[in-house]
Amino acid sequence: MTAPTYTRKDFQTDQEVRWCPGCGDYTILASVQNYMATMGVQKEKIVFISGIGCSSRFPYYMNTYGMHSIHGRAPAIASGLAASRPDLSVWVITGDGDALSIGGNHLIHSLRRNLNIKILLFNNQIYGLTKGQYSPTSEVGKRTKSTPAGSLDYPFNPISLALGAEAGFVARTLDMDRNHTIEMLEAAQAHKGAAFIEIYQNCNVFNDKAFIQLTGKEERVSNRIDMAAGKPIVFGENDSKAVVFRDGSCVVVDRSTVSDSEILVHDPARQDPTISFALSRLSHGPYGPTPLGVFRNVERPVYETEMSAQLVEAQAKRGPGDLAALLASQGTWEVT
């Protein structure tokens, strides 16, 4: 079969897209649809599984197979689908509440298990659908309906968490930057195994401008760190800032204060995730200089591939299942 040729339109459905006007989800939808048109996979082979949340309505708007499931369980459902149908391209759409609050366990297990599923976490640092309670990525002290005196929980750093959970592919991107989003989708798709992309997504109703430091015309210049494999990590106006690894931490320095050789050269393919982890600690949320791009990209055996291999091996050894033989396998006797 030759690679299908699609346009974005092929991935649109007849359902009206229903997010608040200006919601970052629209942009992500467009990026994903655009990317899918070029991905080279038949659309009937693509499945989107989501949980519950604004973000999780995504599958209704993708003209592929899809399931808008229940809160937090999308990675589990996707795991069963991927394990039983290795021929499919399985994508998970989830939110910071869906993936990190109620669904945290399924997320970390699907990452360590390394099924070939691509997880897109729309992180708006708030529970959108339930009208604005703080989430596991909200900053400490956040005042919301459920925390009028300010929240107390220290937030997760989703990248650190994924790395701690043995994820082989970890990346971060931004709703507004369609090209970057598509680049990350491409990299995730190219990676054999579980891929995790945190997408900073603006909820302009309940948490507007949360990512202003990365999206604001001025702010982003000094805060957005673009990481590219093989390149020294520099950023800021005229690349005047650099990231170095110093005394056990990644730190931002004036480029002029260090020699070029001291600047950290980005290598997401390192077997040891330590430096990726260190990069994730540069910021704890979209505050100040914050890296975007692929943090880690290391392959290891894919669960469903191995599972299929065990089945093939069992058949090679024992022949295809013979039901009559199975029933008699514990010994039989005759009653006459």
């Binding site: 592929t64 399931m67 795991s79 069963g80 039983s84 069992a314 295809p320 299942g321 008699a328």
Partner: protein
Amino acid sequence: LATLPSFPAEIRAPAGTLPGVSSFQVQIADFDILTAGDEPDCLVAMNPAALKSNLADLRENGTIIVNEEAFEERNLAKAGYTSNPLTDGSLAGYKVIEVPMERLTKEAVAESGVSGRDVLRSKNFFALGLLAWLFNRPQETTLEWIAAKFKNKPEVGKANELAFKAGYTFGFATEATRTTYLVKPARLTPGTYTQITGNTALAWGLIAAARAAKLPLFYGTYPITPASDVLHELSKHKNFGVRTFQAEDEIAGIGAAIGAAFGGALAVTGSSGPGIALKSEAISLALMTELPLLVLNVQRGGPSTGLPTKPEQSDLLFSLFGRHGESPLPVLAAASPSDAYETAIEAARIALRYMTPVILLSDNLIANGSEPWRLPSVEDLPDISVPFATKPNGPDGSYLPYERDIETFSRPWAVPGTAGLEHRIGGLEKAAVTGNVSYDPENHQLMTDTRAWKIKGIADDITPVEVNGDEDAEVLVVGWGSTLGVIRAAARRVRLAGHKVATAHLRHLNPFPANLEEVLRRYPRVLVPELNSGQLRFLLRANFLLPVEGINRVSGEPFKVAEIEQRILEMI
């Protein structure tokens, strides 16, 4: 005819069996727990030779406790084994409990001060302690006996006490269970038989159902007593294309199964009470998305962690009503170990034909109980396959995922990979026909009713309930699940005593067979024996406004034939 093995006073066996270590080994090898049939229920094999010479005496599918350390090459060769019976599958018909008995005994008696031979001698008491756990015997009598017997050798007495306790503790710590011998039918019809436990039959039934459905089998689960053995059994049969997925928890287990069902597998999840509780929300998703799914519940004693190793039938109402919203689904129950095979196929048939999750109930008695099973003919396996949707069924080449079959009310099953049938499903209320999200009031009423009708309609597609025994009896005994054997035995006794009685056993608990009400109304009195506080009775009362009576037991133990017999006699 007794239904439960009786355990001899613990002191007897060791008393008569201490002439010497090696002979004691042989002796304890056939230390027997008497069943009605006088065959030992349980064999303690301290080494391969003991196993070899005594296995024939053990009842079919009895429990074997082996001292696993002794099963090494030299001993095996000495006993004339060419391969290790613990790993070569030749003990598959039995429940085998492997224990590193020497090592554990050594650890256990360390503080007693005994050494050398005496240590190893104590392992007999370790075995005895484990038996005490398995057969639910109090420890005190044996401990007193040990104290008395060894009062002149206090260290040895201490060592034996410690070993005995350690054996008991080992059983407790590892939630060890034995097989339960179930009442045999009076006569076995001619044919080829095998001895089978319920968990094995359930696993095989699923494999057969997948074959009958022409689908790959997927089992998503998380270990739990007493359901884990279904996972263990299925994971052995990868050559049948069976995929087993040990998930991070029960929710992920059913989640994975739902994913597999969406992908076109015969998808199954299984657990016991606490784990089924966790699956409730996801079962509801399968119900709303109308995907075929089997949910096995091997019931144990509740509530909460309860009594994990004890049987109970207390999850019936939970199966019917254990979900939020109006969420009807079919509920079936296996009636005996071998019946689990057929019930699995029937449950799969319903799940596929009606695109619905189905709950299949078993319990600890069935799961670990065993019985002779006349092998079904593999050629007669029914065809329960349901074709996937392959073509658009709507206007302009569109696909309508909730366009129903006019006979079954079932929706079509289009699986990913099928070009042109791309569609989205989910947990929000769906519009009839299109399956789009709908908040429309009339639609919600319609869909609620449709989901109910679909399940109710199954009543006409299942075998009517059959009555056994006397048409003109005063009392009809209605049972479900693992009480089959004991109810039949009680009825036989009543009849032998010259009275009339009828029995009926329900495989389908929701919906009931279409003729059930008519059958119930034929008898002046209806008795429902249950290992719960009266759950089927409650359902019959609500459905038919009939004053059915109950005999109930929630003690973690099966009924005794005599108590049901007695109750029937009282009612006549």
